[in-house]
Symmetry: C2
Subunit: 336 residues, 2 copies
Amino acid sequence: MGVSLKDIAERAGVSLATVSNVVNGYRPVGEVTRQRVQRAIDELGYTPNLSARHLRRGRTGLIALAVPELTNPYFAELADVAIREAAGLGYTLLMENTAAERGAELALLEGAQRHLIDGLILSPVAIGREEVLARRARMPLVLIGEGVYDVPYDRVAIDNVAASRTATAHLVALGRRRIAFVGAPPGGDRQSAHLRIRGYREALDAAGIPFDPGLVVPTEQFGRADGEHAMHHLLSLDHPPDAVLAYNDLTAIGALRTLARSGAGVPDDVAVAGIDDIEEGRFSNPTLTTVAPDKRAIGRSAVRRLVSRIEGEGGPPMHVQPSFHLIERESTGPAR
Amino acid sequence: MGVSLKDIAERAGVSLATVSNVVNGYRPVGEVTRQRVQRAIDELGYTPNLSARHLRRGRTGLIALAVPELTNPYFAELADVAIREAAGLGYTLLMENTAAERGAELALLEGAQRHLIDGLILSPVAIGREEVLARRARMPLVLIGEGVYDVPYDRVAIDNVAASRTATAHLVALGRRRIAFVGAPPGGDRQSAHLRIRGYREALDAAGIPFDPGLVVPTEQFGRADGEHAMHHLLSLDHPPDAVLAYNDLTAIGALRTLARSGAGVPDDVAVAGIDDIEEGRFSNPTLTTVAPDKRAIGRSAVRRLVSRIEGEGGPPMHVQPSFHLIERESTGPAR
DNA sequence: CTGAAAGCGCTAACAT
DNA sequence: ATGTTAGCGCTTTCAG
């Protein structure tokens, strides 16, 4: 194997403990000794064996970020922020893919990786409040998104109702009256879709526009293909919508695709808006109006909360609510 | 702490070794004993402490996939495949972001994470052949992409010259004569861009089309914004191109954006093709013609090669060359 | 300020 | 088929 503390201790003519203290700085070390040790470390190219350290400390320095889809740009962008933040705090972040499967989310929740990671950031979509409440594992947990709410864990999520209301109000202000919502939850699960629909309805109510259930289209998943199919369905209606709010940017982009293919003008015939502000929407044709959550804040807060808990911070669970803002682009803009 | 082997051993009235063998199956265990041990494991909810196992075995079971950009869909899709493959082989895959920085690539190459990971899959873009040859670390290494070639390590990469040649030949076959290349390397580094330019030139030569250096546009990076700017430049030329091959799909999508904004017709006025086959290009407007590398094969081969080396496979370095194929979509299709 | 030594939980070599 | 035990490399008491 490689160079160990013992090698350094021998070379520098000191004890193991002293070398350890030079490395970790837990106790003061005399200047002369420190230099001798440091030289030995440099000469031999010592780096601590993390497995041994972890075994001894009972912690691994790893945390996991579990998301329903790795290839979803929203989560990729979030992961990017979270990885940097974790590194800055001395932790390594591991990505987990739950594939939006109940079993996977549950397993993680109950400590599937308990010996590998010190804590978990989970974006739950397939499990509900009861399952989180029934959790028995003690590993620190931070939830992101509004998939599960009102549980005794730290949580980081924007106000989805408000975000959705804002986007819908924008469509209303544009003079749209038949506003569809694409991306309702298939079964009845998927809490965050419910919240976004609630915001949508609130904005409709506020504008005195009657709610038409026929304009709310359920989708299996929340990808581009789902938006594409849902839009297809909407265009086949007797009275197609004049605007669409999609569950997220990805489904919105799918909708744009169908509209382009059908020859419908966007925004002239149909205005389209999404939620997430993924970079793809800044380059789509037309560019996509969206609600931008503060992804930086989400990623950083989630990691910070988790690390605080790992390092022993007590206190009641916190709910961090990062901000969001509407970004108007071509898909709801004036006619070109 | 949690439940340990010792607890199980006591509960089941057997030795540590026997429990270990039930868990790992290294030695046969009597059926009756096995059942007693298994019951104890289930009742106490035992899971092995990985740090201890790693310390003892001298391996961590972690491997890293280091890419220049986490938010690039190509790498996200690759990571998705690789994570699954690694899990299937009993390893956990860690994502590392080099941000295309020389220092980061070099550090990883030289064993920055040596005690955390058993092996590294690296997609080098900022370092060159010499730096890889000068490597002193002994940790197993697999390179992906053609950023560095002809080095004594396993490598997984498609034939970039051929891929690019194929795409260019397709544009030629469409009757295009002024074909631009967007995404040349800025400095002179970035080997894979060179290879793609070589393929582009070969196809031009084969068709008897003179090479026009003014149609090769360097870009800082290889993202959407870079394609957008490069296309802007091309449209400002006295004789703008009638086709564009982009370094990758992302830059191609940036080019599409500029073309849409300028009112140019795609493919009528300008045909556009990319390389990578990211899902985004299947939904862009117009949809993007691209060269699709076998990402599944790339991700799986890279992980398998690495794991083989970690587990002691010797032999000369292998070069795996997954296949690719052209996918014709609207951006080079007939006029709508 | 420094040293000695216990022990984290596991695997594997050696015994029975 | 099962048991005993050394030791992986580190941190952290307890002594000095």
